[in-house]
């Protein structure tokens, strides 16, 4: 898919800022408008009142399934668990073939190879969390090795974490350089850059980190690892969606957004779709540009979907745990 396909006006590519120094990076980030927290939160609260019913809801549920990065990132993960998850990713509801596959499975690098095998012949991508996930506390060499191994094992997508310590202490160049290096190590794999917004704390930081990551070459910007207490929130998603919208407008390059962590219900996920729809616009409403990093969300969406078909509430046991 080219950028022209998704309807964004391409501007002169020379307008893409080429960052050649930390000073310049700092200037670009400093030129970004601030975020008024009250206004941002009020905006998402208002969007949360959108009423998505009947056929819109049905479309939304299918869209959500197709946008899910079905995720397991536990120390206790086993090849067996990954295999079950991959089966579910291909065919979330074996009784209903109209349910789309999910977008990807997301696993630790050592499980990529197995996942890849289980998903052969499907459209489901394999994403690997790399760069010393989730803390990002390792040398660049270690991080790059982590990435290379995942890519070598067949990962289609790499979810990296930024160095929040470096970002918060103002070493922006270091964060930037790391993303550039990881992007190079990715080769043809897509790079999702996890900002860990719960640790960045302010919306201003989220906006600046979003731009930093996009300028450094991110294909996706992602909210969270899911490993810190505060994960994706609607206002954070709003700020990131504003960033990708504005970045596309000024550079012509379309970057995706992935919200991850804590999104468990179809209702919550629909609220995110509304935010996407009314912020970045309908062109972002596709798996290529918007993802949910989640595990239990899928079953709730399937339950809602089945309820719509059957006209009655259904038991959780209708769907497999993994």
């Amino acid at each position: 898919m080219s950028e022209a396909d998704i309807g964004v006006r391409l501007t002169d590519p020379s307008r893409l800022p080429t960052i050649s120094s930390e000073t310049q990076l700092r200037a670009v980030l400093a030129s970004l408008a601030g975020v008024d927290a009250v206004g941002a939160e009020a905006r998402v609260a208002k969007l949360a009142t959108r009423s998505i019913k009947t056929s819109s809801k049905r479309r939304a549920l299918d869209l959500i399934v197709s946008m899910i990065d079905l995720t397991t990132l536990e120390g206790a993960d086993t090849p067996g668990r990954v295999s079950a998850m991959c089966a579910k990713a291909r065919r979330p509801d074996p009784r209903d073939l109209s349910v789309p596959s999910v977008a990807a499975v997301c696993v630790y690098p050592d499980l990529v190879e197995g996942a890849k095998r289980h998903l052969e012949g499907s459209s489901v991508a394999v994403a690997a969390v790399a760069t010393a996930f989730p803390s990002g506390r390792a040398s660049l060499a270690v991080k790059l090795l982590d990435v290379s191994e995942a890519v070598a094992a067949g990962a289609d997508e790499i979810d990296m974490v930024i160095d929040r310590g470096a970002f918060l202490s103002g070493r922006l160049g270091q964060v930037f350089d790391e993303i550039v290096a990881v992007k190079a190590a990715c080769g043809s794999a897509h790079l999702k850059v996890i900002l860990e917004t719960g640790e960045l704390v302010t919306y201003d930081n989220v906006r600046r980190a979003s731009w930093l990551a996009m300028l450094a070459g991110a294909d996706f910007i992602k909210t969270s690892t899911g490993k810190v207490p505060v994960a994706a929130t609607p206002p954070v998603a709003l700020v990131m969606l504003e960033a990708v919208r504005d970045f596309a407008e000024s550079t012509g390059r379309v970057v995706g957004v992935k919200v991850a962590g804590g999104i468990r219900s179809a209702k919550d996920a629909i609220r995110y779709l509304v935010i996407v729809n009314e912020t970045a616009g309908a062109t972002w409403l596709r798996p290529e540009t918007f993802r949910f990093g989640a595990s239990s969300l899928l079953n709730d969406v399937l339950m809602q979907r089945l309820k719509q078909t059957r006209g009655a509430y259904v038991r959780p046991e209708e769907f497999s745990g993994d």
Binding site: D36, A37, V201, Y203
Partner: protein, 284 residues
């Protein structure tokens, strides 16, 4: 021994910090309450009022922007000057109101004390009339009393000094500029105080004082569109007409009251202030 002939003073208007004869060139005689000649005073015209309103408008913002502490000091300075000329003021009050010397002296004393009272109000008004509002949301919200702007005062006809002080100082204390029309028949105590104001630290234009015929000046002041509020204390028989013409520019109107010029209520202070409420978001 022949009696020395008086040097008679014609009392002038105070407009924009200057003593002016009326633009019209007219003056009129003011008499003792008993009927004898007392003084010649300038008879202000509509154009004098126009000039006075223009001066007041020009002066108001700076008067308001001066610190409340500074405004208090300036008004207190006026009280100091009046105190130094108590006897003169008392003689004028006695002549104007036909009261005996002790009554006139105590009236002047009360008037000066009233100036002091208002001088002390300048930096309290915001705390007493304003405050923080606990709105149900992430906002810092506060209300402040701000001056209405340019206030026309038709000073009381009877109480030549105390009444003038009370009606004029209240709007001044809250940061307004004033165009005052004195008592028609008893103008000199007010004009004396106006003289003092010129040599005090009150910036030019903040207090403008015009003597003349209330029936002629009142309608001009009440209908003047660049006057934000009007005190009709001395409006007399024209009171309701003036109140009606003030409606054309939605003026704040203070109707004539019972004539208590030393009450402890904040009523007069509240007459010419606006509550300005500012909301600001609170967020990281």
């Amino acid at each position: 021994m022949s009696e020395r002939l008086d040097v008679r003073k014609t009392y002038k208007l105070v407009i924009n910090g200057a003593f002016v004869r009326s633009e019209s060139g007219r003056s009129y005689e003011v008499r003792h309450a008993a009927g004898d000649f007392w003084a010649n005073v300038a008879q202000g015209s509509r154009k004098d009022l126009r000039d006075a309103v223009r001066a007041a408008r020009a002066a108001q913002a700076a008067w308001w922007k001066a610190t409340a502490y500074n405004r208090g000091q300036v008004l207190f300075r006026l009280a100091e000057m009046a105190e130094a000329r108590r006897d003169e003021l008392a003689a004028h009050v006695a002549a104007a109101e036909g009261v005996d010397a002790p009554s006139a002296a105590s009236s002047v004393a009360r008037g000066i004390d009233r100036i002091v009272w208002y001088a002390g109000w300048t930096d309290k008004v915001a705390q007493v009339l304003g405050g923080a509002n606990p709105v149900a949301g992430p906002f810092f919200n506060f209300s402040l009393p701000v001056p209405s702007g340019v206030i026309g005062v038709l000073a009381p006809q009877d109480s030549s000094f105390e009444g003038f002080v009370d009606t004029v100082l209240a709007p001044l204390a809250t940061g307004n500029a004033v165009v005052a029309v004195t008592s028609e028949r008893r103008p000199t105590p007010a004009l004396l105080l106006a003289e003092m104001s010129v040599t005090s630290d009150l910036p030019a234009g903040v207090l403008n004082v015009v003597s003349g015929l209330t029936g002629e000046l009142g309608p001009t002041l009440a209908s003047h569109e660049d006057v934000d509020g009007i005190d009709l204390e001395g409006a007399g028989e024209h009171h309701d007409e003036l109140a009606a013409s003030a409606a054309d520019s939605i003026k704040r109107v203070r109707r004539a009251s019972a004539g208590d010029y030393a009450e402890s209520s904040t009523s007069r202070l509240r007459s010419f202030v606006e509550t300005s409420t500012v909301w600001h978001t609170i967020g990281r």
